[in-house]
Each structure stands twice: as structure tokens, then as C-alpha cells.
Amino acid sequence: MSNIKYILGSFGDPDEMMHGIEKLQENNIKIHDVYTPMPIHGIEAKLGVKRSRLDIAAFFFGITGTITMLTGVYLATAVDWPINIGGKTHFALPDFIPITFELTILFCAFGLVGSYYASTHLFPGRAPRVMDLRATNDRFIIAIDAKQNIEHTKIDELLKGAGALEVKYNERKYVSYE
């Protein structure tokens, strides 16, 4: 048994890559992931990628901001240091709508940036995880788990038949920037 962990089909053309995905799926070969330098329309549906839950996260980050600001304002203006401003009630809600809105946006934005970093493992000191460096430049990469799909010659034929310019056998999962 070889030490090959991943087989990468490297395509120069997105249509050929989409064709390659179809060929692999017809032969029941499970695709680990696909890396492209640009978004490809309809690829999520083809690969069966689950819908992102980012919008749900955004809602909860936002609502956290709303609650934080309203609580903070209430504590400051009505409980801790009540001041009569223009004869209005201490907790005059309309006055604090703009800043509540701001904090909702701020929490939402920071929360989403944090979620993005966490899910992509991008944070300071961490080498980026890249399976093929040219996937960020001019190549469209289909990655197949070589341990789960053992018919390596067949995969090689399918990929080349679909128009892969190159098929790589990697013994490491990621080729990070060194």
C-alpha cells in the first residue's frame, strides 16, 4: 500500500473541470473537495455542498449586539446615573435606536469575520492550508481521497480523459507555504 493520501486532478479550464466532476460522480468516486481560483456558478449544487449557515450566525451575532447595547444604555441612563435630559424619561428608547443599530452592525460584522477565520483556519501564526498552490492562480483542482478510493489508475484515466493537464499524487494533505 502506497503512502499516497490525495489525488489531485489539475485542470486549466473550468468547463473541463465540471466535466471531470460529472465523470467521477458517474463512476461513484467520492470527491473530497474542489479548489478554484474564482467562483464557479452552480458548483455547489453539483457537489452537493450544504447551504451555508452564515446567515443564521449573522442573525445571532446581530441580536447579541442589540441586546448588549440596550442593556448597557438602560444600566447607564436609568439605573446607574439617571439624568433628566429635556424632560424625557430616563430610558428614552428613540434616542438610543441609532447607537443600538450601530452596535448590531458592529457585532454582526466582527462576529462574521471571526466565524470566517475560525472556519477557514486563518489566524496569525498559522500556515495556510493549501492542497495545490496553483489553485489560487490559474488551475482548477479536484481533490480525491486516495485511501477511500483505491482504483487509482481508473481515477487517473477519468481525470485525464476529462481534460486534466496534470494528475498529482500527494503524500501530504496540505502543501503549505514554506
Partner: protein, 407 residues
Amino acid sequence: MGTHHYNLTEQFEFTGKAKILSIVGIVLGVAAIAYGFMSGAHERTFANLLLMAYYFACVCMSGAFFLAVQFVAQAGWSASILRVPQAMAKVLPLAVIILLVVIGLGLYTHNLYHHWNAPGLTDPNSPNYDKLIDGKSAFLNVPFFMARQVIFLGVYSIFAVLLAKWSNNEDLAGGLNSYRKSFKYSCVFLVIYGFTTPIFAFDTIMSLEAHWFSTMFGWYNFAAMWVSSLATIAVIIILLKKSGYMSWVNNSHLHNLGQFIFGFSIFWTYVWFAQFLLIYYANMSEETVYFYKRFNGYEFWFYLNLALNFLSPLLLLMDRDNKRSENILLTVSIIVLVGHWVDYYQMIMPGIFELGTASGSGFGILEVGTALGFIGLFTFAVLTALSKKPLIAKNHPFLQESLNHHL
């Protein structure tokens, strides 16, 4: 690019239930207005006529605005649904005539705009002399007022009719000439429209309470007319689709319309609140009088307005799947349309009627009947205009993009 086999010469047939119901609506409206005049509630009838005529004209002119925005943005997604706003734009001249007649008669009979158009208001020797109104009389006088109305509405009508006409020429002749012309004149129209709609709203609605003013009022009305027009477009498209027309409209088109309605409902809330907050915060009596009237006797309408126009689109259209669902988008669009009736109602009524007077405003046969009448008239006119031409602009340069639209 997938290949599609849509019937590009499909034409809407205006018959059956839609035709009967719209005629019933018109008859009910005429009956309600006649009842209003005969029962002596002239002022209330005029207020309702102004409300619905303004709503009607605003929805139609925002249909033309929608067309212009699509051309200027060189939008592809909307190419296959443009016939619906075009039908609304074609009806604009009719709406303009009705609005001008209502305003003209209202001024003539002193049932409308009597805050600035009453005998002696600008005469220093008269007991009715009003210094504030006299100061505004260079702008708020009948000839200049009517001239502004005629010019603004006339210019909108010309652009609306031309944009619809060029699209029909494109059907016949093909080529890019019509598109280029539409693009160029849309740019001009947007500039004119952007600068004049606030003034149009100041004149038509805000001058009902001529002592009060708010610079946000124009944008507040612009947001209301634009979002109600978007909701109307969505309602027409969904109902057409449900009765078997426009098979090319998929849920991505609905998603875009839903985003528009969601976004501009939030924008409406933003300008509404921007106007409210500054007045609330500064607390100056000449400004707060506007909200004082709305908090004393009209509280229900005041809060209903916010619930219908802000909370319902916010909560019901936030989710992506809801924007893509025909039934939910239809429901929210209707809620928004009712909501903007309430919005205009509480812009107009508290300013005209003193609370507790005999001829005072209320909610009854007159309000419902007038609204039904104008809905019937709008439906009848727009569907007649729609049935004249094929439902798709087959030579629009971006048609393929729209037919393959997918989000």
C-alpha cells in the same frame, strides 16, 4: 447556457374574473364617492380621493422609475419582467389626470390645502392674516402650485410613455437602437425624478399642513412610493404566474424582487425614523405639533403603520427561502401595500381634520370604498395595457441573461 423553450409571443388575455372584479371595484368606488358627496362629508371624500389618487400616481410613476433604474444599472435579471412596470408606466397619464383633477377641484372648492389657500391669509388687513403663510406665499400660491404639479407629472408621464414605447419598437425592429435610447433618457429621467419627487411630495401632501415642514418628508414619501410600487410589481407578476402566464419567471427573479421590497422597507423605516427622531429629540413645539396630532386620536394608525411597513417585511422577508416563495412574497407584498395606505392615511387625515369635529375623519365605507374603486381602476387599466403587447420583450439585449437567471 441552457436552452429554453418559452413562448416569446405569449400575450395576456384580460377576461373573466379579473375583468369582472375590477369593474365591480370601480362601481363600488364610484358609489362610495357619490355617497360621500351626498352625505355632506365633502372634505373627507376629498381627503380620500387625494389619498388614493396620490397612491395611484405614485405607484405608476415608480413603475417608470423602476424601468429607468433597470436601464441605467444595465440590469440583466429583470429583462423578462419589464412588461409589467411598462404597463404601469403606460397608465401614468391616466393617474396624472385623475390626481390633477382631484387637486384642482380640491383647491377650487377649498376642501383641500385650506391651510394655505383660504381668503385673507396673505392680506395684512384681514382678520384671517397669517404671517407664516404669507411668508411662504411666494412658493405656496395656486398658480405656481398647479404649474409645478402639471410640469412634474407631465414630465414623468412623457418619460414613462416613451420608455414603454421604445421597448415596443424594439420588439418590432430589434437591434440596439431602442436600448441605447432608453439608457440615455433613463439617465436624464432619474436625475429629474430624484430632484423633483421630494418637491412633489412637499406640495401634494406636506402642504396640507402648511405651517409645519420637514426636509426629510420628500425622501420619506419617495421611499413609500418606491416600495409600494415594487410590491405592486411583485403582486402582478406572482398572480400572472399563478394563472399560468410568465413561465420564465423563476424563484431567483422573485428573490430579487423580495430583496428590493425588504431593502426598501428598511430604507422607508430609516427615513421615517430619521424624521421622527430629530423632532422627538429637539422637542420644539412648532415641529412636534405634527406628531402631537398623530399621538392624539391616531395612535392606532401610527403604530399599525410601523408594524405593517417595518416589522412584517423585516421578520417575514429576512429569510432567503421566504423571498423565493411565491405565497410568502405575495402575502408580504399585500401587507406592504395595505401598510402604505395606512402610511398615507396618517400623513393626510390628522392634518386636515381637527379631532372631534362632526365631519372628522374615520374609517368606514368611504375609506374602504374609495380604496376599492382605485384598486379596481388600477387593475383594469394596467391589465388592459398589459394585454396589448406580448408579456416578454423578445428583443431585449439582456433577455438570455434574464431567462437563465439563477442566484
